[in-house]
Every structure is written in structure tokens, then in C-alpha cells.
Amino acid sequence: MSRLHNLPAWLVPLTGAALLVSAFQVPADAPTSPDSLLSAATGPALAAAVGPRPGGLPDPPDPPGTILLAEPGSPFVAFNIWIRAGSQNDPEGKEGLAALTAALLSDGSTTHDPYQAIVEKLYPMAAGYGASVDKEMTVFTGTVHIDNLERYYELFRNALLSPAFDEADFDRVKQQTLNFLERGRRYNRDEELSRELLYWMAYRGTPYEHPEEGFVRSVRAITLDDVRAFYDDFYVRNNLVVGVGGGFPVGFGERVRADFDTRPAGEVPVLPAPDPVRPDRVKILIVEKETDATAISMGFPTDLYRGHPDFWAMKLVNSWFGEHRSSFSHLYQVIRERRGMNYGDYSYIEPFPNAFATQNRPVNASRRSNLFEIWIRPIALTEPGNLHPRTLFATRAALRELDRLVERGLPEDQIERTRRFLNDFSLNYGSTVARRLAYRVDDAFFGLGADGSGSGEGGYLTSIRPGLAALDKAAVDTAIRRHLASEGLYLVFITADAQALKALLLSGEETRIDYAGEQPAEVLAEDDEIAAWPIPVVADDIVVLQISEVFEGR
């Protein structure tokens, strides 16, 4: 997801100085870090795999035109304008166009105000607006204190309805994107890059293939006329949904809709959902750079999406296996808690952009096709020469746990335990009006809710408890067998000395690790099994790239 925002350094304990990109973005609204500033790979094509083709959500349902979440008395008003287009709509050779269009609108002049006048007008309100672009959706969001609603709305509306398409703004925004692609993405945060590369591997040949920000070469090729054309094609009244939440006055939501209805109507082609191939064996990408630590991501396409009959079962399974930033989840217990190998180990059934930066569950990254993803945060070298053995040990530990999950299913008591946790924990999901509104927009994407209107009833947040309550062991275990398997997957490493890692992988050698402290006998016994766990891969299925080639072009 393209989110070119970030926090000032003093708000991010444990990180260094940060930069500000979008002048219209209020820092406190943007829980990301400096790396997001700086954000593409080519190389030998990965051999096409053969395996079952995951289904994904058949067709995107028609959403309502307006989603209103009235919370009378609230001092805040949140906006969420959803454009039903994302990076999947980028033309070939112009990958990154959806993101650049959104960035120009959210960080550029309007026909009413030059850029700097907008900055000046927003400044005393401490409010801003920003855009986020995912594979299938673009949202423009902002929250304002009710005192400033009218002044703010005028600016927000103009940004979307009266963009100036100013050449200088375009050059500035494009230059910032290229800086991110050429430098920041490659050098700042390997653990996030490994996740982007996993998506690239898994979606080769589909509209999901490229990162939202595009490739270095494709972004260079984008012109201001391309941006205008994208705006004309997709920012049309029948392709945008108006969301307003909070303490707005009566009639305000209708007024906003009427304003957005001034956009012409247009014909927007509906793209089929991607049809990624589930690999039948292990396929590996090794990106080489100078480093003392390895970033690891692995996964494969599934046919899960919100609303799929197995969704709640798999949400529970995933929570038990690898709930994001939860120390009691299984992978975390095995790799970090018991063995202290890294900072954290998680799994996902839906996209989780910028996972390093936030504990909050992402919103507005709805996709018809999803991966099951395992994220192993960087494994550091502890003694000269042990980086690769430690890397493979952690990888083997994760593969073994996945295999055991598929073999054994989940015991009753663990199902109950996880259900109890999620029942209460999910209360945190909608902690602000902006998030509650964003969940409604996602409901509308998936056609959730009694009438598909995104009205809340039957939506994601209100369905979690009943959805989990309805599960029994048979349902959970059936879902596991249907959606998970450990034999075929994509595996990404970002590490030093790629050829040595490749040789170690192909050798099949055991990779034991040493500990700084004593370990109980049962951990050591388990280590014997982990160290020898097979990663069946052949030389032709291992691709090596240099960091400087990553996301350079298709």
C-alpha cells in the first residue's frame, strides 16, 4: 500500500530522525516511519508453477453511493472517499500511476488554491488529508475537529473535485516517489521489503504483481497527461463512494454526496479477480545486500476473503498461529519467546501493509485475492559465519509449525482460548471514528452487511463474535486443510552472500543454532528435528537478485 506519510522522530521511540513528506498530512494521523518515504524488481522470471488455482471473491458487488456513520455529539468528523480503482488499474509500463495520481491530488494545488495556500489554510486547524492506494482501492481520508468543519471540507472537496494538475506539484511528487523507490525502499527496512517481494513473486503475471508505488522505470515514464487520464477514467461519480463519520450536522452527508455527483459519469471496466497460481513446490528469491541480518517472508495464495464461508475459521486459526504483534501466538512462542532468535514472528490471511510500524489492524486494503503469509522479522548474526544457519533454522521452524498445524488441526482448548481472546481483543479494532468508518467502507467492498450497504449490521466488526461463536473443531480443521499446506510456497530472503545461502539450501545440510543461555532438554530435542527439517528446493527454483535491481522494472 502506498502511504507516503510518517511520524516525526520524537513520536517514534527507538527510531532515528524522520522526514515529512506530505505537507497536508498531520503527523499524528500517520502511524508509519521514515522508511515509508523512500519505496520495485526484475530479473529472471520465476518459473511458472502448477498447482490448484485459488478462487478469490468472484465479483465485486456494487457498493452504495454514500456511507454515513453518524455519531451525534462527537467533536470529530472523519471523511473517507473511496475510489474504486487501485494499482491493478495501472496501465502496463506505467505501474505506479494510481498511486502517483492520488499523491498529486492529496499533496498538490487546486484550481481554487495554490499548494502553499492550502498548507496555510490547513495549518491553524492542525488537520490534513491524505490518500492511500492499495491493489484494488484508493481512499482519501482526513479527520477534523467540528469547530473547523466548513473551512476544512472546502479544501478537502477541492482537492478531489478541482485538482489543478500543476506541473511543479507533479514534478515534486514524482521525485519524492522515485527517491523512495530507488533508495528508501531498498536500503531502509528489509523486513518490509521482503513482504513486498513475496507479493511480487506470488502475483507474477497478474494485475497485483507490481507494488502500488510502481517500478523505478515505470514511474519515470509517467507523465502529467497520464495522471489526468487516470483521473478522468476512474474518478467518476459512479465509481466513487462518499463516507462521512462522526458528529457532522444533519444533511451534511447528503451535501457531500451532491458535491461529488458533479463529477461526470464514466464507464469503468471491472477487472476479473487475479487468479494466482498456488506453487506445488518451494520457490525461493534471494536478494543480496550487505547486512548482518536476514529478512524472511513466505507464503502462498489462498481463496480467502471477508465473507468467504471459512473466513472466521481461518481468522481464528491465524490468530492462534501468528496474531500480529501478539506474544502468545504460536510462531512467536516457538521462535522468539523460547529461542530468542528475533523480535517477532507472525502470520496473516489478509494484507497488512507497514506491519513494522503499527499494532493497529489495517483498513482499506481490501482485496479479492489474498495470501497466507508468514513474516519472520530479521534474524541477526550472533557469531561470524552463523547468519545463514540461523536464517534457515528459523525458516525451518516456521515450516515445521505450519506442517504440524495442517497435520494435527487445532485442539478444542486452543480454539476456545483463541475465541475468547478475539472476542475481547477485537473491541480495539474500531478505536476511532476514522477507523469505524473505514471498516464500513471495507464492508461495502466485500458486499457485507444485511443489504450490502455497508450499514454496520452484518458488517465485519459486528460479525466477529457471532462468526467465531459458530465455529467448532470440525469447521476449523476442515478450513485448515482446505486453505493451508506446507509443501508448496514462495520464500524470500534478503541477506548477505546470496550464493552461500543458495549453496546451503541446496546442500540440505542441518542448520543447528547455539544459545546464549541454557535451554531445557525438550527445546534441544525439538531443535534436532527443526535443524533437519526439509526445505525441498532445486537450483532452478532459486532466483538471486542484487538489491540495486529490486523493483527497477517489470
Partner: protein, 448 residues
């Protein structure tokens, strides 16, 4: 409390019976919520605050110890490491994670220079379990050496997550140049050799707990929908027996800087060049006009709405980014202007332009409208941050960390409202001086 889910998800942010942050007051207290403060005999201070969503609460323990307190050789990064150990259980509750999981708590912690911040967000019906659990670990934390050594590995992993970014390399260089003595010289994560040596510091960790995890050094912030009387009696009961004994460490005082300093570092990856101007600044204060003026000045002079930002970032695009970090700390710390330069050949000229701009603020007065807009921005930024329970705790934590009390947050915004253009000019003249200044630049290895 019955329809907890619907309530939490659908209700507005303001609670019945508490004052919502509806209006930005022009005078009086900025903090709008009903608050109760009480101190126990052992020195533990608590603030109970009605705010946030119905049926939920945030339970926050602020330990006024961070990297600042790491005064001994070889143990930088320890406050943060110790934060990890606080999740390793006690005799009564050996499995802290399991207990918090059982009531679906969203809980974690983070460490900065001046404090360690533990939070737990959960349904209000779990209040007593939370008080029991949290008081127990703060009083009776217990872990064996093997667990300690294992956790040290996780900290090394955390170090690696971010160590190689250009920003991180630059930040380390700035700190080592600006400080000669004070503990702000090291990043919160610590120096790498110390992080690698952490497994060997078990005995030191026991000592660390005994010294710093004492009631006089902790402030509780309970924010949410709950009964004040019940919460107070629970906190009195569970924390009353916590033995005091905090002895503040002798944090070394940074000697006054007497001449300008400079450093240039290279980065092994690829990055645009970065220039930082840094000045030693006074400690945070709610009432010192010069300190408050300086914090405002950073945004006014170098923020997105500043003339130089407009010229160098927007019009000429000689900078990819320009940022001012002027938030002050518990002890005198540096404030920073950071510029990312588009053309490596332009670095020196950019430095000169930034310095000329500083000089301008030392001699010219900021216009009244800019100042009024800045005051308004500061006030709304604060109010906009009061939406959810945990955010409320974060919003007041600066005052709590720096002074041990919440009330100064109101004083701070009163002082802020009274700042004049002359206060801003004087802050620039007295603090952003040449002798107080350190310039550090970063370029990629081998040039562009």
C-alpha cells in the same frame, strides 16, 4: 456493559457525564476530561480520567526511567531491554502473556529517552484483574537467568530491524557529536556492543528492577469508562504494600558547549545527502517562556508552512524534505533541523541558506497572524489527539514524564497562548547560536 461490542463500536467518543473535548477553550484548562488524582503513602501517583469509548479502559504505567538513566558503562539500551523482561511473569502469574490473552487485552510497552510506557487496553469489567496483574509484576517480577539470556536475543533482533537505515546512522552520529557526557549520547536501543553483551547482564538486571521500579518513580494513568471510587480503592489495596526506595541516579550533566562542532558521515547504502543543524536546548518546561517559544519556533521557521519550506521544497525543489524536531526533553537535549538535499553538489549552499534563515529569526519578528495560527494549530493538535483512551494517556504523557504530574499540561498551553513575537526572536537569539551548534551531514559512500 452488556452490549459491550455494539457500545464500543457505535458510540461517540464523548462519555455521558464527562466533558467532551468539544470546544477549544481560549483560556482556562485545555485538558477537558473529569480527572481524579491521588497519591499513596509510598509515593505512587495515580490519575483517573473519564474519556474514551464506553465499556473500555486504558491502564497505563509510566516509569520515569528511560535511556537517560543508563549511567553506567556497558549497559546502554538497558531500560528498553528491561521493558521486555517485564512481560516474563511472576510467581503468582508466571504466564503474563497467557493472562492478558484470556481477557483479550491489547497490551504492549515502549521505551524512550525519558520513560518506559506500559499499556493495556481492555474491557472495563476486567479492571480488578488488571490492577492485580499490573501491581503484581511491578512489585514481584521474577525471571530466571536462562529466560533473561533468551530475551536478550530478541533485543538484538530488534536492533537489527532498523539499524541500517540512513536515518538511524545519522541519528547515531549526531548524538555522539552533540553529547560528550550526558546519557542522551546513545540511542534508546543502545550501542551495538552493549546490545550484544546483554545476555551477560543478569545480575545487573535484578539491580535495575530494584532501583528503578519503585512507586515514587511510577505514575499510573487510568483512562476510560469506569468507576473512580472502585478504581481508587483497588489501586490503594493492590499497590499499598509496594515498598518505596527509589534513588534517582546521578545523570551526568552535559558541560556547556563552547564552540561550534561539525561531523560528516558516510552511508554504505544509497541515500540522498542529509544536512542537520543541531543546537543544545533547555529542558522541557510548562512555564518557561523561552523553552515553549523554542518549541513553537521550530515549526514556524522550518515546518511545511514556513517561507523556507515553500521556497526550497515546494518552489525550487532543492530539498526532498525539510523537518524541524524541536520537542524538548526532561534534560537539556538538542533540537534539530533536518534537510534531505536533491542534488549532492548543493549541500553546502543549502547549509548556508538554513543558517541564514536562522539569523533572520534572530533579528526579525514573526508576524502576529503566523503566531496566532501556530497557537491554534498547537491547541487543535492536542484536542484532536484526545479521541481514544490510549491516545488521551499519550497526550498527557509529556507532562507526566517530565514533571511527574499531569497538571502542567494545562500550564503549558497557557504559556503557549501568551508567547509573543519577541519571545520567539529571543529564543532564536539565545539558543540557536553558533557556539551552541553542531552540524552533521551524511552522504552515501563513494558520492552520488
Amino acid at each position: 456493559m452488556r452490549s459491550l461490542l455494539a457500545g464500543a463500536l457505535l458510540a461517540c467518543t464523548a462519555l455521558a457525564g464527562s466533558s467532551p473535548p468539544a470546544a477549544a477553550q481560549s483560556d482556562g484548562d485545555i485538558f477537558p476530561f473529569e480527572t481524579r488524582r491521588f497519591d499513596l503513602d509510598n509515593g505512587l501517583r495515580t490519575y483517573l480520567i473519564h474519556a474514551g469509548s464506553p465499556g473500555m479502559l486504558a491502564y497505563v504505567s509510566v516509569v520515569r526511567t528511560g535511556a537517560r538513566e543508563e549511567v553506567e558503562e556497558g549497559v546502554t539500551g538497558f531500560a528498553h531491554f528491561f521493558e521486555h523482561m517485564m512481560f516474563r511473569g511472576t510467581k503468582k502469574y508466571p504466564n503474563y502473556d497467557g493472562v492478558t490473552e484470556s481477557f483479550g487485552a491489547n497490551r504492549n510497552a515502549n521505551t524512550s529517552q525519558d520513560r518506559t510506557f506500559y499499556y493495556l487496553v481492555a474491557g472495563s469489567e476486567y479492571l480488578e484483574r488488571i490492577v492485580d496483574l499490573e501491581s503484581d509484576r511491578f512489585r514481584n517480577l521474577s525471571y530466571a537467568e536462562p529466560a533473561f539470556r533468551t530475551e536478550a536475543g530478541a533485543v538484538l533482533g530488534e536492533y537489527q530491524n532498523n539499524a541500517y537505515s540512513a536515518f538511524s546512522v545519522l541519528d547515531r552520529a549526531v548524538r555522539e557529536k552533540v553529547f560528550t557526557t550526558h546519557t542522551y549520547r546513545h540511542q534508546v536501543i543502545g550501542f551495538e556492543p552493549d546490545v550484544r553483551d546483554m545476555p551477560n547482564q543478569y545480575r545487573y538486571s535484578l539491580d535495575f528492577f530494584r532501583r528503578f521500579y519503585r512507586p515514587e518513580n511510577v505514575v499510573l494513568l487510568v483512562v476510560g469508562d469506569f468507576d473512580f471510587d472502585q478504581a481508587e480503592s483497588l489501586i490503594r489495596a493492590y499497590y499499598g504494600g509496594w515498598e518505596p526506595g527509589y534513588v534517582p541516579p546521578a545523570v551526568p550533566v552535559e558541560p556547556e558547549q563552547t564552540e561550534p562542532r561539525r561531523d560528516a558521515v558516510t552511508y554504505p547504502g544509497r541515500t540522498l545527502p542529509m544536512v542537520t543543524l543541531n543546537w543544545m536546548a533547555p529542558a522541557w518546561s510548562a512555564t518557561d517562556r523561552q523553552a515553549v517559544a523554542l518549541e513553537l519556533l521550530g515549526g514556524i521557521a522550518f515546518g511545511p508552512n514556513s517561507p523556507i519550506y515553500r521556497r526550497l521544497v515546494v518552489q525550487e525543489r532543492r530539498l526532498q524534505a525539510l523537518q524541524a524536531g524541536f520537542a524538548l526533553s526532561r534534560d537539556p537535549d538538542f533540537v534539530q533541523v533536518l534537510a534531505m538535499v536533491t542534488d549532492p553538489a548543493d549541500v553546502q549552499a543549502i547549509e548556508a541558506e538554513l543558517l541564514a534563515e536562522v539569523e533572520r529569526y534572530q533579528t526579525e519578528l514573526v508576524d502576529e497572524r503566523t503566531l496566532a495560527d501556530t497557537r491554534s494549530a498547537a491547541r487543535y493538535r492536542f484536542l484532536m489527539g484526545l479521541e481514544a483512551h490510549l491516545n488521551v494517556a499519550n497526550a498527557v504523557s509529556r507532562a507526566v514524564v517530565n514533571t511527574g504530574a499531569l497538571e502542567p499540561i494545562n500550564d503549558y498551553y497557557r504559556t503557549l497562548r501568551s508567547i509573543t513575537p519577541e519571545d520567539l526572536r529571543r529564543a532564536a537569539e539565545r539558543i540557536l547560536t553558533e557556539r551552541n551548534r553542531t552540524i552533521v551531514t551524511l552522504v552515501q559512500e563513494g558520492g552520488s
